[in-house]
């Protein structure tokens, strides 16, 4: 111990002359710009997916109903309520938020004497930090799940533009599991899917590699997984919560993956449908399209003896005769339908109900009838010249291709229409032309402008890859016929399609016209239905807008034994048909059990 040790501590007095470090105004200290303070939610952006609730380890987040936000497609109408008696400000909810609507502000003072106060709905309840912009947000490059879709293998344009080989290759197990892993299991998609499929559950089955369980979940609501897995309009993907900051989950391909993995001969064993107890009642189904097949499947399972009447030579309806083989191979249709056949459903082909078999006969022979005849009549543009023999309906041509008939092609063809059917026929013609002439000369045109075409984006992109010309935004005016031969289609620029009241009433710019050269025109502007078989009982039925038969939620018409569904009621698309068939089957069961 030296004198130095005694004196040294006194050097602390040197601080006496320094500026004090004390914060003068301790009450108004601003936190750092990235401080994790109180929550703020952009309630209009939020979709109430509940992922924040899912990840919160403190159970601090509840989804609650909030005034002003109603449930709609892609938005549950719920908003997160946060309990500051639980929160630990870890900000995992911000990191995981699918819409990035949730963030933290850098406000940190909240004092109250009432412990019940500390529960609020951020962004909805009035709080003094609501207009603060600083605070914690998720950084780019930091993701708790992948926002990128697993790339799907496709045939290249050169490989596919001459053949009808299926162009989507399908996922491998590893890819499927990786894609399935992206699902956040919010379930927003379920309500939007017309069939209300258990989407998160079957995706979970893919993740676990348990395709048998996946198949069981699929068949709860959808008896045509192979078909749906390829050509479904996938409304679920448009509302997928991952869509908001990345790619939507490819729900459709995952569904297809499950069905592809299970061989047809194991279906009965997996689904437990080896033995079905028949109840002795009989149901007739008109039309072997998705709705009819779906009804046939569920009715068969319930023990009904089902007979399906189909005018064509093979089952599948539009899926077989309206969709080209490169999108939906016929053996995949057969796989689904053979299973339905194996459940005991009978089919009678080449029979037109109302012509070959009157509806009255069905009424007598069966306990109930389900009519799902679909939309098979092409609609015409009715422009001058559209009655020419070289003006075709897309739907007729597609059917002919399915039957393997030779199409009378030309080198220059114009397709009128911008929907998926128009793309189907355009791409089909492109392939046929490529085979026949070695080059493609097909142009598709439609009223809708680029970007708002009703067809799926990838359809348009792929059609262009296959060298078809897509020139949207034109309204057909006249088919130019010279010497009995078609020379072209005169079109005018379309300014708007709907009028102020939202009715279909296109306005053209007559100054801006041009002519698409063509030797053949294909019209694909929608389809109509043929329900002439109901002519005899027409007065007993009620008809809604656009000539549709009015039905109850069970798809029962005003005639109790007649159920109607499919494209002629809702849609048109395959998943509505499947949902209709399922609901109708339940309705028929309810009706017949109550009888």
């Amino acid at each position: 111990m030296s004198l130095k040790d005694v004196l040294m501590p006194f050097t602390a007095w040197g601080n006496l002359f320094k500026t004090p470090v004390t914060i003068k105004d301790s009450r108004n200290v601003e936190a750092a710009p990235r401080y994790r303070g109180f929550h703020m939610n952009d309630a209009d952006k939020c979709i109430g997916c509940g992922t924040c609730e899912e990840i919160c380890q403190n159970a601090a987040i509840d989804l609650v109903e909030v005034a002003g936000y109603e449930a709609k497609d892609g938005d549950s109408g719920l908003r997160p309520m946060i309990d500051y008696g639980r929160c630990c400000w870890c900000a995992l909810c911000v990191d995981v938020c699918t819409t990035q609507s949730l963030r933290l502000t850098n406000e940190y003072k909240w004092i109250s004497s009432d412990p019940e106060d500390f529960r609020f709905v951020p962004g909805v309840d009035e709080k003094h930090w609501n207009n603060r912009t600083e605070g914690y947000t998720k950084m780019d490059g930091y993701d708790l799940y992948s926002t990128q879709r697993v790339e799907m293998g496709e045939l290249h344009a050169e490989e596919r533009d001459k053949s009808f080989v299926e162009m989507i290759k399908g996922y491998s197990l590893e890819q499927a599991q990786k894609e399935a892993d992206r699902c956040v299991e919010c379930g927003i998609c379920i309500a939007t899917c017309p069939a209300h499929m258990g989407i998160p559950r079957y995706i979970e089955a893919v993740r676990h590699g348990d395709m048998e369980e996946g198949l069981r979940i699929l068949y709860e609501t959808n008896p045509l997984p192979e078909i749906c897995g390829r050509i479904c309009t996938h409304k679920c993907e448009t509302v997928c919560s991952l869509n908001h900051k990345g790619d939507a989950l490819s729900i459709r391909w995952l569904k297809r993956y499950i069905a592809d993995q299970v061989p047809a001969e194991r279906y009965k064993e997996i689904l437990g449908t080896d033995k079905i107890v028949k109840n002795g009642k009989k149901v007739a189904i008109v039309g072997a399209g998705p709705a009819g097949l779906s009804a046939a499947h569920y009715l068969s399972l319930m023990g009904y003896q089902v007979k399906v009447y189909e005018v064509q030579e093979a089952p599948g309806g539009m899926t077989r005769y309206g969709i080209p083989e490169y999108r939906l191979p016929y053996d995949m249709i057969d796989k689904d339908i053979d299973y339905i056949k194996s459940l005991g459903a009978e089919f009678q082909f080449g029979t037109r109900v109302g012509v070959d078999v009157p509806l009255e006969t069905l009424e007598k022979e069966y306990d109930a009838v389900f009519a799902a005849t679909g939309l098979h009549l092409g609609r015409s543009t009715r422009v001058p010249g559209s009655d020419h023999k070289r003006v075709y309906q897309a739907i007729d041509l597609l059917r002919d291709v399915s039957y393997g008939k030779e199409i009378d092609l030309s080198e220059k063809i114009v397709v009128v229409g911008g929907g998926n059917v128009a793309m189907d026929i355009t791409r089909t013609i492109a392939r046929l032309q490529n085979k026949k002439y070695g080059k493609v000369g097909v142009t598709a045109t439609c009223l809708e402008a680029e970007g708002s075409m009703p067809a799926d984006d990838e359809e348009v992109i792929e059609a262009r890859e296959e060298n078809a010309t897509i020139d949207p935004g034109w309204g057909p005016q006249e088919i130019i016929v010279e010497n009995g031969e078609i020379k072209g289609l005169r079109v005018a620029k379309c300014l708007r399609i709907f009028d102020d009241e939202g009715r279909f009433n296109p306005t053209m710019d007559m100054e801006n016209q041009k002519v698409f050269e063509a030797e053949m025109i294909v019209e694909s502007i929608g389809q109509g239905m043929d329900i002439s078989y109901t002519d005899n009982i027409k007065e007993k039925l009620t008809f809604g807008p656009r000539g549709r038969i009015q039905v109850s939620p069970d798809f029962q018409s005003d005639i109790p034994w007649l159920f109607v569904g499919g494209d002629i009621i809702e849609g048109p698309d395959v998943i509505h048909g499947i949902a209709n068939g399922h609901k109708a089957a339940k309705g028929i069961d309810k009706f017949l059990k109550g009888k």
Partner: protein, 217 residues
């Protein structure tokens, strides 16, 4: 109760040889339960207002951190925030303190101590709950060893939210508490006395019946 096995009368010989009789039960606990002040919830008069002002400007905190939040109290004692200038200081024993800060979760073992410390503090006394844990269990909402709601065990005057609250938030909390005291609403001790049976029942549900007299003083 293993911990209280030594709580019996005995004679202790001090180092200088003096014999000292010790009866811990009598020394630390009493059978008389507390009584609330008369008319404590009435609007205070001028004298009481003056007293409340004096109380609010000298918050003496029991320097006992029950949980995480205690670490953010320490910077208040440093020159940076210097809480002493607001009349706030930390005292080593409950007898000298009138503000009990529950700085976060309370494990069962700590609850036992905190209840006793609270009872030993002279009236009027105030309780401030820091952080989520005191409000609704916080992170440890599903833990088998931490209580979820502080207001079931002692009257709480004010809560400061945060996990854990920043020192600045604590200062804001003191400001709020001062307002409460000046308004004559800092009557936690009276509420505790008034609802003594209910509080004791809740405490005993968790701490077990320790076989001690009801109230420590």
């Amino acid at each position: 109760m293993e911990k209280f096995k030594d709580f019996k009368k005995r004679t202790v010989i001090a180092p200088d040889g003096e014999k000292i009789e010790i009866d811990p039960m009598k020394d630390y606990y009493c059978d008389a339960i507390p009584t609330p002040r008369k008319d404590y919830d009435k609007i205070p008069g001028i004298l009481e207002n003056f007293k409340n002002w004096a109380r609010s400007e000298s918050l003496w905190i029991l320097a006992y951190g029950s949980g995480c939040g205690a670490i953010e109290m320490r910077p208040l004692m440093t020159p940076k925030h210097d809480a002493y200038r607001f009349g706030i200081q930390w005292r080593p024993t409950p007898r000298q303190a009138n503000l009990l800060m529950i700085s976060g979760y309370l494990s069962v073992k700590t609850l036992r101590i905190v209840v006793r410390a609270y009872e030993q503090m002279p009236s009027p006394k105030y309780v401030m709950g820091l952080g989520s844990c005191t409000i609704n269990g916080g992170m440890y909402w599903d833990s088998y060893n931490t209580i979820n709601r502080l207001d079931h065990f002692m009257p709480v005057d004010t809560y400061v939210t945060g996990c854990m609250p920043r020192p600045e938030a604590l200062i804001a909390g003191f400001d709020e508490l001062k307002k409460i005291i000046r308004a004559g609403k800092g009557v936690g001790a009276d509420k505790y006395a008034e609802n003594f049976a209910w509080y004791k029942e809740n405490q005993k549900k968790i701490l077990g019946d320790v076989g001690l007299p009801e109230y420590s003083w």
